[in-house]
């Protein structure tokens, strides 16, 4: 288990003999089994560490890339109230990224390195953010559906086996609730507005529904990392379980909104006590993952430009700090 996933880290383990390693692994397994938390300075299998770095980095990247589609509408928000709300939400996304980058750093990686990998396209972010926000109603649909799906995914992560990740998720989940409710309220206002506003809200929901369902990842039988992550209690529920939970939550919420979900096969299944839903177009998901979504290039380019444009600010702050350290010495 410890030698296959991370060839680069393997030599570090050549030191302790196999018995010692087995003892460490047994202790780790026992802690996970007992629902205790793994903390940064505990011994952990290399593959566990690598899995967490991959997932947490992707999560952090998603938060900061996720600022873009919504920030697109800040200058065009229809009222000062909506503008203030949207700015607060986008600022929260930045904050969530920072919580998660900090938590990831406890695994022994540097933040600069994570950002470099994002900019080089070597670490991913959620594919949902590669879709464009075409109208104001998209801000509402993102809050209701995208943040709603995120919450469904993230609430179980508050009990994740890795302590710093779980603690970051507790903070994030508290704040996400505002995100979802503001989106729902925004859609409700549009849905109950003029015919054109109602149509705009419906159009946004039509475009965001399926990509939101894809946010839970591939079906269980096709999900590469699921089984191991569940054994490690990084993940607590399967992709399909969470997706089902989300569908069942959304159906009555859509009814109150007076909007429909764009799936002719969506209906209550009395026997299962859950909603059946249509087949997801996974070829679209794979295309977007491969970099061929509507906005992949634009999002990464924007991120790189923002980072480059911030260089002088970071340099100036560092120079100022150095000057004052000198003056005090």
């Amino acid at each position: 288990m410890t030698t296959t996933a991370e060839p680069g880290a393997a030599p570090a383990q050549a030191g302790p003999d196999q018995d010692a390693l087995d003892a460490l692994l047994a202790e780790f397994d026992a802690a996970v089994a007992a629902d205790s938390r793994i903390e940064p300075r505990d011994w952990m299998p290399d593959a566990y560490r690598a899995t967490l770095v991959r997932q947490m980095a992707q999560h952090a990247h998603s938060e900061i890339i996720g600022m873009q589609p919504e920030a697109n509408w800040i200058t065009r928000a229809p009222s000062l109230r909506r503008k203030a709300i949207l700015m607060a939400k986008v600022q929260d996304e930045a904050g969530h990224g920072l919580y998660l980058y900090s938590a990831t750093e406890t695994l022994g990686v540097s933040r600069d390195d994570l950002l470099d990998k994002l900019h080089a396209g070597r670490q991913r972010y959620s594919s949902i953010f590669n879709y464009p926000t075409l109208t104001w109603a998209d801000v509402g649909a993102i809050g209701w559906l995208v943040d709603g799906a995120a919450i469904t995914n993230q609430v179980p992560l508050c009990r994740c086996s890795y302590g710093p990740y779980a603690r970051a998720m507790v903070r994030i989940c508290k704040e996400e609730s505002f995100h979802q409710r503001q989106g729902y309220e925004l859609l409700l206002a549009l849905s109950r507005g003029t015919a054109a506003q109602h149509a705009m809200a419906q159009d946004a929901v039509n475009r965001w529904w399926w990509p939101s369902l894809m946010m839970f990842g591939p079906p269980d039988d096709a999900s590469a990392h699921s089984a191991q992550s569940m054994a490690w209690k990084i993940k607590r529920h399967s992709n399909d379980e969470l997706r089902q939970r989300f569908v069942d939550i959304c159906v009555p919420q859509a009814e109150v909104l007076g909007l429909t979900l764009p799936d002719p096969d969506l209906r209550w299944n009395e026997e299962r006590g859950a909603h059946d839903y249509g087949v997801i177009d996974w070829s679209e998901f794979q295309e977007v993952l491969r970099g061929n979504g509507p906005c992949n290039e634009q999002r990464l380019e924007r991120r790189r430009t923002a980072h480059d444009n911030g260089t002088w600010v970071r340099d100036a702050a560092a120079a100022y700090a150095a000057k004052h350290r000198k003056a005090q010495a």
Binding site: R41, G95, A322
Partner: protein, 106 residues
Amino acid sequence: MTEQAGEPAESATGGQWPLWEVFVRSRRGLSHSHAGSLHAPDAQMALRNARDLYTRRAEGVSIWVVPSAAVTASSPDEKDPFFEPAGDKAYRHPTFYEIPEGVKHL
């Protein structure tokens, strides 16, 4: 394996700003508790960033920032014999003592 704990990933000279640990007092009467960490070039910026990052919803009335490198931790892993001396001293707890029923205010 040993150096990743609570230590900054880079020194101030490594290009990346140093890491700071943030402690927030949520209201008067409570002690500061650890909220998380952040990068900043100096203490003043660390305080400002901490305010923006950890108190956006009035979660605090006071903030401490401490360079992560200045934290000395008890042991490389947290299951250390360091804490063993306390393990077998049950007599330090009030529940260790049997008191006849009916004795009040004890």
